[in-house]
Subunit: 380 residues, 2 copies
């Protein structure tokens, strides 16, 4: 919790806090510039234009509430978010890795995100949707997964409540500051999430949420998690935006179907129809775990290492076999090498990256040190 | 209707009728043997074992009822079934092409099957399922498609009724003889299907349905149609068997989702999940047409078949999909259906009318026979 103490060595951290207040952590290009030049240098160029920005004050305010700031490189920083930085470095048109995350709650962000799954959906959910979302979240919490959502009305709230009901931790990624109860009717719910998990935001304390931030916030929900489950989504639901981010990051995208007579399932059905290869239909927590858990369950929990090879799918083993350790190659090349479709290969990359066996570089994928270790692929 | 008249030249036809009575048209290997040696030769070897089989009597009985027998090679024989023969020749373990189809009704089998789609599902359907099946079938009939199903309780009956309600023809493929009203409660429905389409079976008149025949019958439902839509199916629904046949025959397999809380949608969801690449989620008739119709609709109109798919715009294809074959609708309604401005749609109508695909009536536009014709879909 380095954010509690401000020292001279924290100038990078202070500059990140200042920049997230002054220009916004979700400004396209800012995180790439900071990665190249360092936050202090970028802030030094800009601070004269923002005389009223006082990052020490922000950090003090948050610390007084019991919160903290978490920056890239901190032990608590979730590795899963690194992909946002690499994606942004490639395009620069989209918001990249957050400059910092303002965090409030009892959980350790990095640990909670080691096994995290997003459950999102429409605000105007039906009773069917909220029931399914709550059941799903409870089942995921029971299986040791952290449920991540956006604390909005409808599906989001049901997901948080389901996780809490099962005694599991849950993370709310907010569009405004972590000290701003929004929506106001969720003040109690936000309090319980804080006590049993985390509230987090890339917006500094006191920030009010606005439309643009709801959308850029969605990339963090997708980025923190191994997969995103869409429970109910209307024709133009913002939850579809989260699913799009997850797909773009190579994470698993899942959707729960509903009655075709319900306008609130239209978005889920369209996703399953038009992005068939990259969207999996799921109906319960066990099926979600099947999609996001396989590789992890194998690597982490197998008591008998020899079982690993049996558990890892044949395709995953072949993929690891043809993946270079020094150069990087794209999913299309890998697909050709294993004789599968690019979409199929792409869908496996998210879990492999999340598991730490593969890393995404600017020009493609390559094996990590862990992925090169024989134990990763042959159980020795 | 050659079955009405029995001459010496009908010995092959008589032998097929005899064999379907004596050994069963769905006996694995029989159709391959008949294809190789001829039905008369096969029957000559077997007839001493079946002294009570009298095919002339069967044909006379059926003719008296107004029915007929249709055999491979007859003008009315649906080409789509040929694939069953080829599949069977390869494996010999499964029932192959029917030896003959016993047919009763007003429609021409070959013509009706040029644009046919199967709508099948559980007997123990819910109100949701029967409503969706009926709407789907009506929408398909409106677009000039023949709805094929199995006349069972639940989804099958709803599909036939939906097609009939829209004034479209429908085909019931029965497990027993076409003169056996099964289920008995469907006697009236079967009568209406006969008047507005066809009852057909590979079992000779008077045959009672039994379990094995329900399953082998499913290959005919799948074989007659360009695609199979599964509306509701429980864990072990027989409709899943039809879907399996359709997949095996390379036809389009579609499934309608439902609430994940419904046991009657479990089969549909499992299919969408476990056979993701070969199963398309559909929610209405327009989406079904998109899967089974689009590519074909294009092929027929191009002077240069290869260029056609690229040439016809996506919007034109959608327009043809939402245009009714029987009623007429105005450009404004069409515009709403495809989500475009009336002016945009209006501008496309001239060329479509000029091509003869659409005709302008007093009260709007509708598809022409050419627009509906199979040649519009496969370029033949």
């Amino acid at each position: 919790m380095r954010g509690d103490v401000i020292t001279d060595g924290d100038s990078e951290r202070l500059a990140r806090a200042a920049l997230s207040r002054a220009v916004g952590s979700d400004k396209p290009g800012i995180s790439v510039e900071v990665a190249h030049r360092g936050a202090a240098a970028v802030w030094a160029d800009l601070r004269h234009r923002h005389p009223d920005v006082d990052p020490e004050d922000d950090l003090r305010l948050l610390a007084r509430l019991g919160g903290r700031i978490v920056c890239p490189g901190d032990s608590e920083w979730p590795d899963a978010l690194d992909v946002l930085g690499r994606m942004s470095a490639a395009t620069q048109a989209e918001p990249g890795e957050p400059l910092a995350l303002w965090v409030h709650g009892s959980g350790n962000l990095g640990q909670l995100c080691e096994r995290a799954v997003a459950v999102v959906g429409s605000r105007a959910a039906t009773a069917y949707g909220t029931t399914v979302a709550a059941d799903l979240a409870s089942g995921l919490a029971d299986r040791g997964w952290t449920v991540v959502s956006g604390a909005a009305f409808g599906i989001d709230a049901a997901a948080h409540r389901g996780a809490l009901a099962a005694g599991g931790p849950t993370i709310a990624v907010l569009a405004g500051g972590v000290d701003v109860a929004y929506p106001r009717a969720h003040a109690d719910l936000l309090g319980r999430i804080r006590e049993n998990g985390l509230l987090l935001s890339e917006a500094p304390p006191g920030s009010l949420p606005y439309r643009g931030r709801f959308l850029t916030r969605n990339r963090i929900i997708a980025g923190l998690t191994r997969g995103t489950v869409l429970v109910e989504a209307g024709h133009r639901s913002g939850a579809l935006n989260t699913a799009r981010h997850a797909r773009g990051l190579g994470r698993v995208v899942m959707a729960v179907p509903g009655p075709v007579t319900s306008a609130l399932s239209v978005g889920c059905h369209r996703l399953l129809r038009t992005h068939r290869e990259q969207t999996v239909l799921v109906t319960d927590a066990a099926e979600v775990c099947e999609e996001i858990g396989v590789i992890g369950e194998l690597a982490g929990y197998s008591p008998a290492p020899t079982g690993l090879r049996d558990g890892l799918s044949e395709l995953v083993r072949r993929l690891l076999d043809v993946m270079p350790a020094r150069a990087s190659v794209g999913a299309a090349v890998l697909a050709e090498r294993v004789g599968e479709r690019p979409q199929t290969v792409q869908a496996l990359m998210g879990p492999l990256v999340a598991e730490g066996l593969v890393e995404l570089r600017a020009d493609g994928y390559r094996l990590t040190a862990l992925g090169r270790a024989p134990s990763a692929t042959n159980g020795s």
